[in-house]
């Protein structure tokens, strides 16, 4: 099944797009979808993952709700679910 990622700020700049779809197994979890995203887009992983976890307070959102501890989140996904990675906006 497919799930759809929305990317914001620096992550969108790195990916060159704000929306990406990835294919995941039917029993995939949020954590699996993050792994799939980073497998397909290693430059995103280089920026967004440190020591096996999302870096720099990047938030993961599943169907509009922030996911706590996303790298281990075992909540199941459904076909066409929307996920997002939202880094804090820095500068001023």
């Amino acid at each position: 099944m497919d799930v759809h990622w929305k990317l914001f700020a620096t992550l969108r700049e790195i990916a060159g797009t704000g929306e990406l779809s990835v294919e995941v197994p039917t029993d995939a979890t949020v954590a699996d979808a993050i792994d799939r995203l980073f497998e397909e887009y290693p430059r995103l992983e280089a920026h967004a993952r440190e020591d096996g976890a999302l870096a720099g307070h990047i938030r993961a959102i599943h169907e509009g709700t922030t996911v706590e501890d996303p790298e281990t989140a075992d909540q199941q996904l459904s076909h066409d679910d929307e996920l997002a990675l939202v880094p804090p906006l820095s500068g001023g």
């Binding site: 700020a9 720099g56 307070h57 804090p88 906006l89 820095s90 500068g91 001023g92």
Partner: protein, 173 residues
């Protein structure tokens, strides 16, 4: 909307006043000023002699009583690989932070014919409006006059206005 300003460290009254005035002038919001808080333990990075901005946001979210809670500090903040930041905010989130440390007129190539105190006050107002704008869902704006334009140095802060451009206004007001 209620915005709670959370002073962190020893912050002059004038800064709190300007921060409140900036928010009230742009957003139709109630503003309160929280009791001053100590710098969060663990925020200081001795190698950089700077403070992690994320820790200040966490503090503002923890103690703030507003729908939006913004930490204001005079400590020098950084975020990941950036040398420094004037502010940091969560898009569509409740927490944000601004630092006045590098908004002082002597730093980093700003320009203005106005008195130093007025230039500093304007920068404080712009930066706090900017960060609350992020928490309302606004990203950086390409219009250099818009308060939501990206400001890596005070030069860009001085170029922008204290207000949202028409397009950003339509998205949040």
């Amino acid at each position: 909307m209620h915005v709670d300003i959370v002073p962190v460290g020893d912050l002059p009254a004038a800064v709190k006043r300007e921060a409140s005035a900036g928010l009230r002038s742009v957003f139709d919001c109630d503003v309160s000023v929280h009791d001053a808080q100590s710098v969060p333990p663990g925020a200081y990075d001795p190698d950089r002699d700077q403070y992690r901005a994320e820790e200040f946001i966490d503090l503002a979210k923890r103690v703030g009583v507003g729908e939006k809670n913004v930490a204001v500090t005079n400590k020098d903040l950084f975020y990941r690989r950036r040398n420094y930041v004037f502010g940091l905010a969560y898009l569509d989130g409740s927490g944000s932070v601004i630092s006045t440390h590098r908004l002082q007129t002597s730093s980093d190539g700003g320009f203005s014919n106005k008195p130093a105190s007025e230039v500093f006050a304007e920068r404080v107002r712009k930066e706090i409006v900017h960060e609350i704008g992020h928490t309302l869902g606004l990203e950086h704006c390409d219009n250099k006059r818009c308060v939501m334009s990206f400001s890596p140095t005070v030069r860009e802060v001085d170029v922008k206005e204290q207000t949202l451009c028409g397009s950003c206004q339509r998205r949040v007001l």
